[in-house]
Amino acid sequence: MVDYIWIVIALPLAGAVFLHFFGSRLREPIAGVIATSTVGLSFFYALIAAADFFSGTGEAETVHLFDWIPTLGANAELLWDPLSAVMTLTVTGVGALIHLYSIGYMHGDPRFGRFFTGLNFFTASMLILVLADNFGALFVGWELVGLSSYLLISFWFQKPSAAAAGKKAFIVNRIGDVGFLIGLMLILANFNTLTYGTVLADPARFVTAGTATAITLLLLLGAAGKSAQIPLYFWLPDAMEGPTPVSALIHAATMVTAGVYMVARTASLFELSGFAAATVATVGAFTALFAATIALMQRDIKRVLAFSTISQLGYMFLAVGTGAYVAGIFHLFTHAFFKALLFLGSGSVIHAMGDEQDMAKMGGLAKVMPVTHLTMVIGWLAIIGIPPLAGFWSKDEILALAFGAGGWFTFLWVLGIITALLTAVYMTRWMYLTFWGEARWDDGVDPHESPAVMTLPLVGLAVGSAAFGLLNTPFHGPFKPAFEHFLEPSFEAIEMAHLPSGSTPWFLALISIAAAAGGALFAYRRYQGAEAFDTAPVAAKRTGVWRWVTNGYYVDDIIGNLLVLPGKLVAAWTAFVLDTEIIDGSVRAIGGGVRRISGWLRPVQTGFVRNYAVVTFAGVVGLLVWFVSQGAG
């Protein structure tokens, strides 16, 4: 079974190749059906392959497919262990549902087939990423998901904004990848290979803490790029230019979590460097808070979710940085469900509103879209962390573990709690502006519930969001921490963070629940009361800090003016002054110089015999002088 695990990748890949060539010829639903089924099959294959892990008898296995670049220890080798199994299942499971949903969402798009090519290709790339057995293969998947994200964000290439967003996403990711690449250089230089087996088994054998710090920080840069963490988060909001299923699959559920996965995978390296781990946690906590604040003021239904995604990824970073790898992966897992759910829901809304994305023009959709509304409520409760829904368990575990880590992490815990509060505020706002209150639709718009093909996945994801939290509870008996046991083999060697002892966890849980409930209540009241409508969560002050927040702290402008513009100027100077004028200029000058000298010399040939005789005679004298001097000497 496991020996053929490559089938998991091969299926969607084959789907992509097939659809690339024939997708455009197929009648509409068929392409979608094919794509969906390839991913679905992968899911079931993975499920069966993971059976041993469920029974706890599973052994990590590597499958060697073929040599790629042996001299770097980078071969086509797959690693099948609980961690990659979880990732595979998440990717294929959530992926399959989103594929299904897309059949409805992309209905009528002229490039229907092409879209599924992209989705399938992305799934394959993501699976390469999570199944890789060495950093080389990991990097392949790493870049390929970037590519597919680029292709899918700018899927509607006629929209300049979409094209630009795609480019931005890829390039910002590449910035991170440079860091990643340099990290790989260090790894090869110290380990002489890129294979996990050698590098991760017992890194202390090869590297000092210092080197480990360098390596891990560089990897972190790559992770920050993929997972949209500070400082490389700013591509994700623009990425919402892509079709909503793309946002759901790539920019919420799977690709953006690659960074988290990578940190978890390289846990043994991070373990060597407390500093790097702390950095990861700090980056995560701050990103979480930062993004949450921006989310407060967004009017675009998807941008809110985008910033929310960044914020949630922050939690995951906080987790893996704290050493709570299981918690991190668990949050990744649950988040995949409820965030995908929320995105698909917003997609369903956008669909219903005739591609309207401004929440100021929505409201009161609960009545017309009952199913969507219901599922969204579940998603909403899940993300703000109301027990017993998934979000609560995963997020709360993270916070608890952070608190338990003590010291600096206690401060990060505080940030986490504030973020939890803000999350509740902006998500409630999101719900209210979209589904509740009175309708503010433009005339001519009449929303309607989406077709079953779209609502079905919503339901599926809703169930996940509601129930999967119970997979990992701190209790015993029926709700034992199954997820943790499941992942244990992958983290045997790793020193895990522990829950604080005694009743503290309960206490912490209460705090976070309070924060969530309080935030939700505040926001609800804010809008219920308001007559003069205003999207801002607090009484209208469009000035000072709020303008900053509304514009995402002007980060894009700052980058545009401080990095991109000067960069272009420098390039232009190099090209049109240094290269054309100075370097090529001097080359041309040499050529012209030779010609000019030749011109100057011509008049020497006066045409007068006497002068010729003079020159000749001068030659004679010169030669005589030489020879006679030879004789003398």
């Binding site: 480019k167 690449l181 250089m185």
Partner: protein, 514 residues
């Protein structure tokens, strides 16, 4: 070996040129098929060569040797090793494509095809020659057909470009020639008889100072060909003004003569100087990476953009070669091939769009993806290959080079890594401006997508790009032994210890994995 495959590889195209010229004036339609058939035949020979090549053998194979001028030690001496093998194959592969891409050449078609075929013969000769005079002959004589290709069938500023190309490169070769002569003089002193035989010259022991001078003399010639900053300014003009076939061959193969020369001659003949100067050249290469990319970003002319991207990519090759590590050098070699494929494809694509719109101005385009989805697809694919996307050939080379060179020049390798980023910037930005958005100009809306011939031209390239990206092993297996020989040689000729030799690598059995 029943027949002298190497000689055939060189002289078949040359004879082909004669045949093409000899075709009756009244039957112009024959020209292209004949030329194409001949180049395909050559490709077949190259294929035979690749398959008949002894994989594990790092030395020269298929050697041929006959004296031309015995008392001067000039021989007709050919041989192929893992380093030259794929350059020959690349050459033989690119020419049928370039010929097929030039069927629309109307003016003096016979002469055009003849020139192209001559060029092919000469280029293959450069990579096969094991006698320095013979090498120089091929190295120099191919300027003539190239000169005519640019000067007769080129763009508006073709004359200037052609002259610049010829003079600039010839200037380099002048020093090369003197260097070669000096070597044979040394041989005369040490062996008692003059020789230009590469294999014998390897046994010379050359004083350190002499090595520096010779390294310089050879190096200038090769640096101009590569081209290394600051000797690169002939390249954008030549590439831009040359007809499509010319650009493809220039970028695809001609530039490789420089890097090949460095690897074959400088590293082997002047090991001490190499070890001393490697850092400097690697630095130049890295500078070229960033510089070429920066200049490419703002080029308003699509063809110039691709031309400068070559400067950037060749910088990687130079870095790899002078890293003097197994991975770096093999990466350099395979990157030569990769660059030939991707940049060749890019020039072909630019040529195709130029044939339709007769402009290379990026600003003149926009929203092409609507009218020409296939063209856009091919372009994007090639762009990503050239930007070093994993899974495509470009990555394998750059990955090996970067990781391989870190062991020797951490700082340089790190700077070079940013070249990968910049490549994405200039290629994607160009793609955005040319292909995306709504086609605002009428002439862009009515463009016809690629025809069967054009697709036929591109598909083989694409196939190879993917193949080399996913399964480079066959190539690497043939390249590495030759590279190892070079490094061994440097190791025992100098006190230098190349880091990261392959045999140092801890090979981990798949079992004891986590």
């Amino acid at each position: 070996m029943g027949f002298n495959v190497l000689s055939l590889l060189i002289w078949l195209p040359v004879a082909g040129a004669a045949v093409v010229i000899g075709l009756p004036r009244r039957r112009p339609e024959l020209v292209v098929p004949v030329a194409f058939a001949l180049s395909v035949l050559t490709l077949g020979l190259a294929g035979f060569l690749v398959f008949d090549f002894e994989t594990a053998n790092g030395g020269f194979q298929f050697i041929e040797k006959t004296a031309i001028a015995p008392d001067l030690g000039i021989d007709y001496h050919l041989g192929v090793d893992g380093i030259s093998l794929f350059l020959v194959a690349l050459t033989a592969f690119l020419f049928p494509i370039s010929i097929l891409a030039s069927v629309n050449v109307a003016d003096r078609r016979k002469e055009f095809m003849a020139a192209v075929l001559l060029l092919e013969g000469a280029l293959i000769g450069v990579f096969l020659a094991l006698d320095l005079v013979l090498f120089f002959v091929f190295f120099e004589v191919l300027l003539v057909p190239m000169y005519f290709l640019i000067g007769l069938w080129g763009g508006e500023r073709r004359l200037e470009a052609a002259l610049k190309f010829f003079l600039y490169t010839a200037l380099g070769s002048a020093f090369l020639l003197v260097g070669i002569i000096f070597l044979s003089a040394q041989a005369n002193d040490q062996f008692g008889s003059p020789t230009f035989n590469y294999l014998e010259l390897l046994n010379l022991d050359i004083s350190r100072s002499a090595q520096y001078w010779l390294f310089g003399a050879f190096g200038v010639a090769f640096a101009i060909k590569v081209p290394l900053f600051p000797f690169h300014t002939w390249l954008p003009d030549a590439h831009t003004e040359a007809p499509t076939a010319g650009s493809v061959v220039l970028a695809g193969v001609l530039l490789k003569m420089g890097t090949y020369g460095f690897l074959r001659f400088n590293l082997n003949l002047f090991p001490e100087a190499t070890v001393q100067l490697a850092g400097f050249l690697a630095a130049l290469g890295v500078f070229g990476i960033i510089y070429g990319a920066a200049v490419a970003i703002v080029q308003p002319d699509l063809k110039r953009l691709v031309a400068y991207s070559s400067v950037s990519h060749l910088g990687f090759v130079v870095l790899g070669i002078f890293a003097l590590t197994s991975q770096g050098v093999s990466g350099g070699v395979i990157q030569m091939v990769n660059h030939g494929l991707t940049t060749g494809a890019l020039f072909l694509l630019v040529g195709m769009i130029y044939e339709r719109r007769h402009t290379r101005e990026i600003a003149a385009y926009g929203g092409l993806q609507k009218a020409m989805p296939w063209f856009a697809g091919f372009f994007l694919f090639t762009a990503f290959a050239s930007a070093g996307l994993p899974g495509l050939n470009g990555f394998v080379g750059e990955f090996l080079i970067l990781l391989g060179s870190y062991g020797r020049y951490p700082v340089l390798a790190i700077i070079a890594a940013f070249g990968v980023l910049l490549a994405a910037v200039y290629l994607l930005w160009a793609y955005e401006r040319v292909f995306t958005g709504e086609p605002d100009k009428e002439e862009n809306r009515v463009l016809s997508d690629l025809g069967l011939r054009e697709v036929g031209i591109l598909v083989p390239l694409v196939a190879l790009v993917v193949l080399l990206g996913v399964y480079p092993k066959p190539a690497l297996d043939r390249i590495e032994p030759a590279v190892e020989r070079v490094l061994d040689r440097i190791e025992d000729r100098t006190d230098f210890e190349p880091p990261l030799r392959i045999d140092d690598i801890a090979v981990v059995p798949a079992e004891d994995d986590q």
